[in-house]
Amino acid sequence: MLELQALSKHFGGVHAVDDLSLTVNRGEIFGLIGPNGSGKSTTVNLICGVLPVTAGTISFEGHDITSAQPHRAVAAGLARTFQNIRLFSHLTVWQNLWVAQGRTDGHESSRFVKRWLAGDSTARRSVSDLIAFAGLSDRGDEYAGNLAFGEQRRLELARALATGPKLLLLDEPAAGMNLEEVRELDERLRQLVERGITILLVEHVMELVMGVTDRIAVLNFGRKIAEGTPAEIQNDEAVQEAYLGSSNKA
């Protein structure tokens, strides 16, 4: 579904992502892990079109999206969340989801007229669904900036879903969560996969990654050092070395 080929991103002399190739298959949860500064977030930003690619290609459902602008990537069916939550904090919960609902079928202007005549009822219904999914019913009129941390995380996920994505890129969605919340998130991600959404999960919290993913790729210094099932990754020497430092060299 998503295919990265020999993807590289250099910032001056720093090779943030270096010759990275990987394939995410439809319907799976694919984990992307690695120590701090290993290029995970940069990879997400490259896929979304936020950063220009230095070399290599990105294709999504057979279409080349290497140099697509971010809103084009969204139109193609990619949506993301951010490592540091980025909600529109002076918009209400409801509006946060509303603005994300640009991608529906039909021509822009005819849709506009249709929606206007219909009083936007379809849009309203699906927004209510998303608010319920995020567990924020009754809080639709609250400003997003007033929500608690966990609620903001859930709203950001709902906002990504509001774009109608086929593939979700989640950048450390469990950061700062307690164990209870991580379990909830795990449950939520499985629900999404059942709905037919594919997930690329960038994460540090191993309880989540090892439990929920189908396959994992490990980055270190911008390079892929391992790929496989969670069980394979846990026993991989190169991975252990990257995380814990080289052992027993003496």
Partner: protein
């Protein structure tokens, strides 16, 4: 009575100017170009009624379309710059427009006299209102019909999804792009609509004063244009109107008895107002209060 009609006209025109900046500010772009668009509207409409002998309303609309188009062209390069750099760039544009009119001569004979813009001397004899026998009261009504139309249109945009999109871009461009919003389209549209509105304001202004010159459209006017919505708050268009009434009605006219000290107090009061109400006179909390007071339905269930 004429004094009050005159004041009403001024407040109306400045409200239109402020609203032209309001929509651009919603997208997070601080612009000092509005005086330039105001000037384009003023000169074009003036030329159409005086030189071409058009009716005022079509002249205004053509003038607004011209300044909207120029605004659209300015919007594209402005996309690449943000923050202070944008302020400087738009200010430079405004000055370029002013200097264009400073150098622009286009006079035609009308009866015995020559009429039309004459560079630094300005554009005199834009006498549409007196020639057609409009009273000051009628002019004031005419101005306020436009104010009402523009406020209603912006109010409607604000309540629609478009309003939320503009604000989303203003708050966080990266997040806005990431939910599928086309930044280029949104920012350029905001600029174009702002230019259109400023053009209407300028067109009215030219016919109100009957004599315009380049120095009317300097940085001071551009600063006023953004001061209104910033002071009034970007929560809704009413804030801009209140800010114009506060500045033009109270600070400029109401404090006239203070003589030269007025200007000092003027600045101090604006600083004070911004400190007391950092998000403007009408902020989210004020709106929440008003909505509760009048028991209006909430957005999520009704809008």
């Amino acid at each position: 009575m004429d004094f009050y009609y005159g004041l009403l006209q001024i407040i109306g025109m400045h409200t239109i100017l402020g609203l032209s900046a309001y929509i651009v500010l919603l997208t997070g772009q601080v612009t000092l170009a509005q005086a330039g668009f105001f000037a384009i509207g003023a000169y074009i409409a003036g030329m159409l009624t005086v030189l071409a002998g058009w009716h005022l309303v079509p002249s205004m609309l053509v003038a607004a379309v011209v300044s909207g188009t120029v605004a659209c062209l300015v919007g594209f390069p402005a996309l690449r710059i943000k923050g202070l750099m944008l302020v400087v760039a738009t200010m430079a544009f405004g000055e370029a427009v002013r200097l264009f009119w400073f150098n622009f001569d286009y006079q035609r004979s009308k009866g015995e006299a020559l009429v039309g813009p004459l560079g630094g001397e300005g554009f005199k004899q834009i006498r549409y209102f007196p020639e057609n026998g409009w009273t000051t009261g009628e002019v004031a009504t005419f101005v306020w019909i436009w104010v009402a139309l523009i406020m209603a249109a912006l109010w409607w945009i604000d309540r629609s999804r478009a309003g939320a999109v503009l604000r989303a871009v203003g708050e966080d461009e990266l997040a806005a792009q990431s939910v599928g919003i086309n930044l280029t389209a949104v920012k350029v549209t905001a600029f174009a609509v702002g230019g259109f509105i400023a053009g209407i304001g300028g067109a009215i202004y030219a016919h109100y004063t009957t004599h315009i010159e380049h120095s009317n459209f300097g940085v001071i006017l551009a600063t006023f244009a953004i001061a209104y919505p910033i002071l009034g708050g970007l929560t809704n268009v009413v804030g801009t109107l209140l800010a114009v009434i506060f500045i033009q009605g109270f600070l400029v006219e109401g404090l006239r008895f203070l003589g030269d000290w007025r200007n000092l107090l003027f600045g101090a009061l604006i600083v004070l107002a911004m400190n007391v109400r950092p998000r403007g006179l009408i902020d989210e909390r004020a709106m929440l209060f008003l909505r509760r007071m009048f028991g209006l339905a909430k957005r999520g269930t009704n809008a």
